[in-house]
Amino acid sequence: MSSWFEKHLPKIVLAPSFIAIILFVYGFIAWTAWVSFTKSRLMPKYDIVGFIQYDRLFDSPRWDVAINNLFIFGFLFILISMFLGLIIAIFLDQKIRIEGALRTIYLYPMALSLIVTGTAWKWMLNPGLGLEAVIKNLGFNNFTFDWLINPDFAIYTVVIAGVWQASGFVMALFLAGLRSVDQEIIKAAQVDGVPTVKIYTAIIIPSMTPVFLSAFIVLAHLAIKSFDLVIALTGGGPGYATDLPATYMYTMAFSRGDIGQAASSAIIMMIVVFSVVVPYLYSELRNKNDQ
C-alpha cells in the first residue's frame, strides 16, 4: 500500500493542477473555438453554422486596423526594445562604478503596471499638457508633437510607452547573458589585440543566441496580448486608430454583445501566438533531444 502510494505520489500531487489546466485552459480554448463557428450574440449558442464569424471579421475595417496595428506595434516594440536593451546592457557591462544603482533605475519601469505607464505617457504626450506645451512655452512656437491625437501616428505612441516599459527588462536579460559568456575567450581575443567592438559583434553577441530567443518570445507574447497599455494611453482612439486585436475582442464581447465575433477574433489571436511560440518550442525540444 505504502509503496504504491510512494510510487504514485507525484502523479496524485500533480493531478489537480493538471485537471484544472486541461479544463480551464484547453477546455475553454475548445469552447471558444466552438462558439466562433456559431451565430452567438448576447449569449452563447451552440449550433454550428460555419465560417460566418470569420467572414465578418475579415470584412470589418476595424479588424484590419487592429491587425495592422498589431504588426506595426509588435515589430517596432520587439525590435527597439531588444536594440535598446542590448545597448544599455553592453554599456552597463563596462565595469562601471555605480552599476547596481543604474541597473535598478533601468529595470524599475518593469515594476510599474502598464496602466500607470499608459496614463503617465498620456499626459506627457498630450499636446496641450505635455511635451509640446512645455517646448512651446520655452519659446519654440512652431514645435508640434501631436502623435497622440493624430490617427496616423497614434500607434507609435503606444510603441514609445511600451519600449520605455520593457527595454529595462530586456537589458536585465542581456546583462545576465553577457555575464555568462566565457571570460577566457574574451581575454584570449583581447590578448590577440581584437578591438572591443569586434569582440562584441563577433564573439559575445553570437554566443547569446538563446538569450535573444527568450527575449523575443517574452516580448512577442507581451505585444500580442497587449491591452491595458492601449486602454490607458489612447483608449483605442483617436476613433479606433490604435485598436489591437485584444481591445477589439474586448469591445465585441463586453460592449457590443457579439460573442461570436469576440470568439473568432480570440481564435485568430491564438493562431498568431502559436505561430510565434510553436517554432520556438520545436527548436527547444529538438535541441534537448540532440543532447
Binding site: R41, M43, P61, P127, G128, G235, F254, G257, D258, Q261
Partner: protein, 415 residues
C-alpha cells in the same frame, strides 16, 4: 420507533420551510448607478421599497458604462439565478426576452395604467411581444446644445436655430480665439454629435429610416452625405486636444468660458448645476437645430425569478419605479425628466420644462425618436458598426462619400 422519528423529522422540515418560505417581498437589483447623484437616486427607491415591507438586495456593479454589469448579468442568467430587476435599456430588453430570460409584469402595468401615463413610443420599449417586461425610470434628452451665456452675449451672439447659423456663430467665435465646440474625442461622444446633426439635417423621417429601420436608401442618400459634410465642418470647430477627453471635462470648458457650446445629453446639466451655475443665467440650454426629440430611457428589465417572495418583490418594485414619487425624486437628482407625463414639474428647472414640453409635443407629432448612439434604437452590433464609421470619419480625412460607403458595408457586416 424509526417510523415515528421519520415522521417527526419530515414534519419539522415542513414546518421549518413553511415558517421561512414567506418573509415578505424580496428583490435583488442589478444596476450601475454608483456615482454621487445616481447613488442618491437609487437610495430613494431602496427606502421606498423597504417602507413597503420589502427586502432589497443591492447589486451595484460599477465600471465600463455598464459593461461590467452586463458581464455579471450573463453569468447570473447562465447559472439560472437571475436578479429580479436589472438596469437595461432599449433593444437589449428585447434581446434578453428572446433569450427567454424576462418575466411578464403586465398585471402591474395594467393595474397602474402605464399605457395611459407613458408616451407611446417609450412604452413600446418596455414591451416584449405585447407584454410588459420592463419599467421606465427616466427620459434623458440627447439632442441638447449647451452654451456659456456670457461668452455668447459679450460677443453679440445668440443660440443658433439652424446648422448654418451654428456654423456662422462658430466661425465668429473662432475668429475671437474662443473654441466654438467643446468636445471629447471618444467614440460615443462623436456618435452623440453625429445623431444630433443627422436629426437636424435629415429630419425625423430620415432619422427613423436610417437609424431605426436601417433602410439602405436612407443610409446611402444624399442627405447622409450632407450629414457627414456637416460633421467634417464640426471637426474644424473642435480644439486640438479633444482626443480621449471625458465629456464632463468638455462641459467644464463651457462652464469656464474656454469654449462656447457643447452638444451632449442632459446629464451635462447635472455638471453645470453641481458647479452652482444657474440655467438661463450662467448657461443656456436649447435643443440642437432642427425638429424632433432624441430620447435615452433608463429602465429596469424584470427577469424571471423563482419563489413567491421574489415575484412579489419584483411586482412591488415595478409599481414603485413607475410611481409618481420615485419618478420625481430620482429625476430631480439625475437631471433627466420623468418618463410618465402626469408628474408635476414644479420643482424642476427651466431646461427640464423645455424637455418635458418638447417630449409631449413630439410624441403627438410623431417625432419622438430613440437615440441610436445611446443604445435605444439598435442592437449593440449594429449601433457599434455605425459608431465605428462615424468616429473613423471624424478622426481622419475620409470624404463623406467614402464614409457613406463604409457605413453601408459596416451595417451589412454586422447583421
Amino acid at each position: 420507533m424509526f417510523k415515528k422519528l421519520a415522521v417527526a423529522a419530515v414534519a419539522t422540515t415542513f414546518s421549518l420551510s413553511a415558517s421561512i418560505s414567506y418573509a415578505g417581498p424580496k428583490a435583488e437589483v442589478l444596476h450601475w448607478w454608483t456615482s454621487g447623484g445616481e447613488a442618491k437616486s437609487v437610495a430613494v427607491l431602496q427606502k421606498e421599497f423597504s417602507e413597503n415591507g420589502g427586502t432589497w438586495t443591492d447589486m451595484p456593479v460599477a465600471g465600463g458604462g455598464g459593461d461590467a454589469a452586463m458581464t455579471a448579468l450573463r453569468a447570473r442568467v447562465l447559472s439560472g439565478n437571475a436578479p429580479a430587476a436589472v438596469q437595461l435599456k432599449g433593444p437589449s430588453i428585447q434581446e434578453w426576452y428572446e433569450e427567454g430570460a424576462l418575466a411578464d409584469i403586465s398585471d402591474v402595468a395594467n393595474k397602474n395604467n402605464w399605457s395611459k401615463v407613458l408616451p407611446e413610443s417609450i412604452a413600446g420599449h418596455m414591451k416584449c411581444e405585447g407584454k410588459w417586461c420592463a419599467a421606465p425610470v427616466n427620459v434623458h434628452r440627447i439632442d441638447w446644445i449647451w452654451a456659456n451665456a456670457s461668452v455668447l452675449s459679450s460677443n453679440g451672439l445668440s443660440m443658433p436655430k439652424t446648422w448654418e447659423e451654428f456654423n456662422a456663430t462658430a466661425k465668429a467665435l473662432q475668429a475671437k480665439g474662443i473654441i466654438p465646440l467643446a468636445h471629447g474625442g471618444q467614440a460615443w461622444q462623436d456618435a452623440t454629435v453625429f445623431e444630433a446633426v443627422a436629426l437636424g439635417i435629415g429630419g425625423a423621417n430620415f432619422f427613423h429610416d436610417a437609424f431605426v429601420k436601417l433602410d439602405k436608401k436612407a443610409l446611402q442618400s444624399d442627405t447622409m452625405i450632407k450629414v457627414f459634410d456637416q460633421m467634417r465642418i464640426m471637426r474644424g470647430f473642435v480644439d486640438k486636444n479633444f482626443s480621449g477627453r471625458d465629456w464632463n471635462l468638455a462641459t467644464a470648458m463651457v462652464m469656464n468660458g474656454e469654449a462656447a457650446f457643447q452638444i451632449m445629453g442632459d446629464w451635462a446639466k447635472g455638471e453645470f448645476l453641481a458647479a452652482g451655475k444657474v440655467p438661463g443665467k450662467d448657461f443656456l440650454c436649447s435643443s440642437t437645430p432642427g425638429e424632433g426629440f432624441l430620447y435615452n430611457v433608463d429602465s429596469f428589465a424584470m427577469f424571471k425569478v423563482k419563489g413567491n417572495e421574489r415575484q412579489e418583490g419584483q411586482k412591488l418594485l415595478a409599481k414603485l419605479v413607475v410611481g409618481k414619487n420615485f419618478q420625481k425624486v430620482f429625476n430631480l437628482n439625475k437631471g433627466s425628466i420623468p418618463a410618465r407625463t402626469d408628474v408635476s414639474l414644479g420643482e424642476f428647472d427651466h431646461c427640464a420644462h423645455v424637455s418635458a414640453a418638447d417630449m409631449n409635443a413630439s410624441s403627438v407629432g410623431g417625432t419622438l425618436l430613440p437615440s441610436y448612439a445611446h443604445g435605444m434604437a439598435l442592437r449593440g452590433a449594429q449601433a457599434g458598426a455605425i459608431t465605428d464609421t462615424v468616429t473613423a470619419h471624424f478622426n481622419s480625412n475620409m470624404s463623406s462619400k467614402e464614409a457613406v460607403a463604409m457605413l453601408v458595408k459596416a451595417i451589412d457586416n454586422s447583421k
